[in-house]
């Protein structure tokens, strides 16, 4: 089988015996892949300490070696994102996003827009040009949109009336329905959150259009809080389980 080369972001690394590592990457060209890095734990020469979480690497691996486990042959570091690992809060956010990607994506399915989104938020996180919270909102809303689980923020999920025809400033969001509901359709109170109209508008802006423009949108601090509570309930609900990094994040935030 031929060697395959692609840019990739490291998602997870697990010890395999005394010498090897089994590593999951989000690659640009093949989506999520699992590779084995032989002697990576022992030999400094082979991968020389560059196989670290969140790093952007250029990989060369051999495909077709058994199902889904490729043999890593070369790796070179493109972007180490040193400022992320030097900061516990940044590390916690990056870990949360990584877990979402790792849990959601299927192996071997090319997902270029998720790759670029992930690299973009990691770069922004490393540079410190945007607050971590705002980046996490940007990542989550766009990730869900690309994955086809965009929250419905414009029409009642039951009767279809428009948000502008709904009463009050607080709009009910039903997790199970994946969208807002009007007062008339609100039934039993489970899995529901409230979002203010202002927050809904900002979420819609941040979730669409050019990402560089979107990241410049300044949220008010109540809107940040409301958006995080909302997304950190909405995303795990659709993932089917709560990422471990999320409880870590809550502890240190």
């Amino acid at each position: 089988m031929p060697d395959f080369s692609t840019p990739a972001i490291m998602l997870r690394s697990i010890d395999h015996g005394d010498y090897d590592l089994i590593i999951k990457f989000l690659t640009l060209k093949q989506g999520k892949v699992t590779v084995i890095a032989k002697y990576a734990k022992k030999s400094k020469k082979r991968f020389s300490g560059i196989l670290e979480l969140f790093s952007v690497l250029e990989l060369v691996y051999k495909t077709g070696r058994g199902k889904g486990l490729y043999l890593l042959k070369e790796a070179s570091l493109k972007e180490p994102f040193m400022k992320i690992r030097g900061d516990i809060k940044k590390t916690a956010y990056a870990s949360y996003w990584t877990e979402i990607i790792n849990q959601w994506l299927e192996e071997g399915t090319r997902q270029e827009s998720i790759y670029y989104l992930f690299r973009h938020v990691l770069q922004a996180l490393d540079s410190g040009r945007i607050p971590e919270e705002a980046l996490s909102i940007l990542f989550q809303i766009r990730f869900m949109k690309i994955s086809g689980f965009s929250p419905n923020l414009s029409l009642c999920s039951t009767c279809g009336i428009e948000i502008d025809s709904m009463e009050g400033n607080s709009i009910l969001f039903d997790l199970a329905k994946g969208g807002i509901v009007c007062k008339g359709c609100a039934s039993y109170p489970s899995g529901r959150l409230y979002l203010s109209r202002g927050t809904i508008k900002q979420l819609e802006w941040v979730g669409s259009g050019d990402i560089k423009k979107a990241e410049r949108i300044r949220f008010t601090s109540p809107a940040i809080k409301e958006s995080l509570v909302f997304l950190e309930a909405f995303v795990p609900y659709h993932l089917g389980r709560e990422p471990r990094s999320l409880s870590f994040l809550r502890k240190i935030r």
């Binding site: 997870r12 005394d18 400094k44 020469k45 020389s48 300490g49 560059i50 670290e52 979480l53 969140f54 570091l77 180490p80 040193m82 992320i84 690992r85 030097g86 900061d87 516990i88 590390t91 916690a92 870990s95 949360y96 990584t98 877990e99 990422p243 471990r244 990094s245 409880s247 870590f248 994040l249 502890k251 240190i252």
Partner: protein, 199 residues
């Protein structure tokens, strides 16, 4: 293999579970024990039992010890106001072997790892802060690893210790002696350059 009696097969199986030991080596070790004098075999068995029974963590630094306090914490020759924070007992052993450090240690028993759900209360950070609160410590050397988890742990600890009047240092991680520069990653090289010193 099946021609061996169960008692030998059992030992081979148990040796085979040890790290780095394959079936062939396990078989050789078992044969060695079989041929050895009875007292030798008993000593080996006893030392394994002792290890499991008597080894605990030093109540002060969490190093492996067979008493309440480890040898280093007890030693009057060690500088008790200089504290080196490491992740694992093996890291402490490595620093001890270098002979470069004359202070005492604090072994965290792990590193923070959001994805593994390992938070500040899961490793010995609270105990570290307590040691600092109790006074007598002038400098903390953070010697956690340079992995993402190790760096994040170092960042967390230094933030938590900000409020104390302390000198907090991070060990310089540089180019290995005799190391070929082309094998050193960019992160290490950058850091080595930043922490360069006059010779």
């Amino acid at each position: 293999m099946n021609h061996y009696p169960a008692s030998i097969l059992n030992l081979i199986k148990n040796f085979g579970r040890l790290p780095g030991i394959g079936e062939k080596t396990a078989e050789r070790l078992a044969m060695h024990i079989l041929r050895a004098r009875r007292v030798e075999a008993e000593q080996l068995a006893q030392s394994i039992m002792d290890l499991k029974q008597n080894t605990r963590l030093c109540s002060k630094c969490f190093a492996l010890s067979d008493k309440e306090l480890c040898k280093i914490c007890e030693s009057p020759a060690r500088n008790q106001s200089l504290l080196c924070v490491v992740e694992k007992p093996a890291d402490m052993a490595a620093i001890e072997q270098s002979g470069a450090f004359t202070g005492v240690y604090h072994i965290l028993q792990g590193a923070l790892s959001p994805m593994d759900g390992i938070g500040p209360e899961d490793i010995k950070i609270r105990e570290l802060i307590k040691r600092v609160e109790n006074g007598n410590i002038d400098e903390i050397v953070i010697a956690t690893s340079t992995t993402v988890e190790g760096e994040a742990t170092a960042s967390y600890i230094s933030k938590e210790l900000e409020r104390f009047q302390l000198r907090i240092t991070r060990i310089a991680s540089g180019v290995p002696v005799g190391g070929d520069l082309k094998y050193v990653d960019q992160v290490t090289l950058k850091r080595a350059m930043e922490t360069r010193h006059v010779i």
